[in-house]
Symmetry: C2
Subunit: 203 residues, 2 copies
């Protein structure tokens, strides 16, 4: 056993399960309460611990908070996402660094890891999308665990966002997520979910 590791004996209690899963909802409307840098850092510091393939960690995040940055984002949003996004305290652009493999020599114990990707666009695309999306999901659940609410969105023009925020870099947008403290008075009833017996099988 590694010296610094001790697995907790208990399971996550009802408060955590309610907060992260059972009572959590996607919010379009947020309370007038700012999201601090410290909170965003605390969420990332939890989310970054989640597993990625070869510890490749392609997720990059641009947190859009100021009026100037919000104005740059607005033209890229689908019409139905504009008003709520402009009003949200923060909008995270979940992006992927398409040169993520350049960090592998410092992040993974196998010195060959960089060569699994360098010069291999198909492997890069697949790993960036899969692992960058896994990490974005870890971020969403970590945000909830610290009391934030999320409004993830796929409805936007990726090329416009990349041009407005990531020109001259290897970052590419994946999806967006409004962040804040949700206004429960503006929630609609939860949509249904597919049953285990429909979506899963054991054999």
């Amino acid at each position: 056993m590694t010296a610094d590791f001790q697995k907790p004996e208990s399971l996550a209690g009802d408060i955590a399960l309610d907060l992260i899963f059972r009572q959590a909802r996607t919010y379009s409307h947020f309370l007038d309460r700012p999201v601090t840098d410290e909170t965003l850092r605390a969420v990332y510091d939890l989310a970054r611990l989640g597993p990625t393939s070869g510890n490749c960690q392609p997720l990059r995040i641009h947190f859009v908070r100021g009026a100037e940055a919000k104005a740059r984002l607005e033209p890229a949003l689908a019409a139905g996402n504009r008003k709520k996004t402009m009003a949200a305290p923060v909008t995270a652009i979940f992006a992927m660094d398409m040169e993520f493999y350049e960090q592998l020599p410092s992040q993974f114990h196998d010195p060959e890891a960089r060569s699994w990707f360098a010069g291999k666009p198909k492997a890069i695309d697949e790993a960036a999308m899969r692992n960058g999306t896994l990490q974005a999901a870890y971020f969403i659940l970590a945000a909830r665990s610290l009391g934030l609410d999320c409004g993830p969105m796929s409805g936007f023009d990726r090329e416009k966002v990349d041009a407005a925020f990531f020109a001259g870099t290897a970052w590419r947008s994946n999806f967006l997520c409004n962040l804040g403290y949700g206004n429960p008075g503006r929630l609609h009833p939860r949509n249904p979910r597919l049953d285990f017996d429909f979506a899963c099988r054991i054999a």
Copy 2:
């Protein structure tokens, strides 16, 4: 406010954060303790609550547990993943239903939702991959919250898995994840993680 909704007042405590993020690790070796159907169902029932675009829920899971199914999986595994996977109590094949949009009429409040995808292979592929991967991440963290440990893996032949498990269906494999109760005596030290100031920016 919807009648049945009450957001918890507290935040997730240290036990939950340790279990889900801070002390959680990727395991290759598991204790000799079975994973029950009830546990797999309880994990799915939490994970399915996580958000997907238009509530599209493309995730499907084949839980490989029996000797016959494990034997079918073995030839598709990368050499380095074979021994640990054959020894794991359960291996989840996280798959995507490429006809997920057929469920939208019952799962989403907008009757037009099916038409966003039907007959549009690029939109289907992108939504299946992004949302199926988000849901797989929710499953991993939900599994941890209920005391399970995970060993996710991308190293396998997707075509072989699809032929062995999903022939004649619209399910396609995304990645694999061993499940069980981890053996902490077989852990290596945790790899590093990228810092907030490297991976994120606020503007």
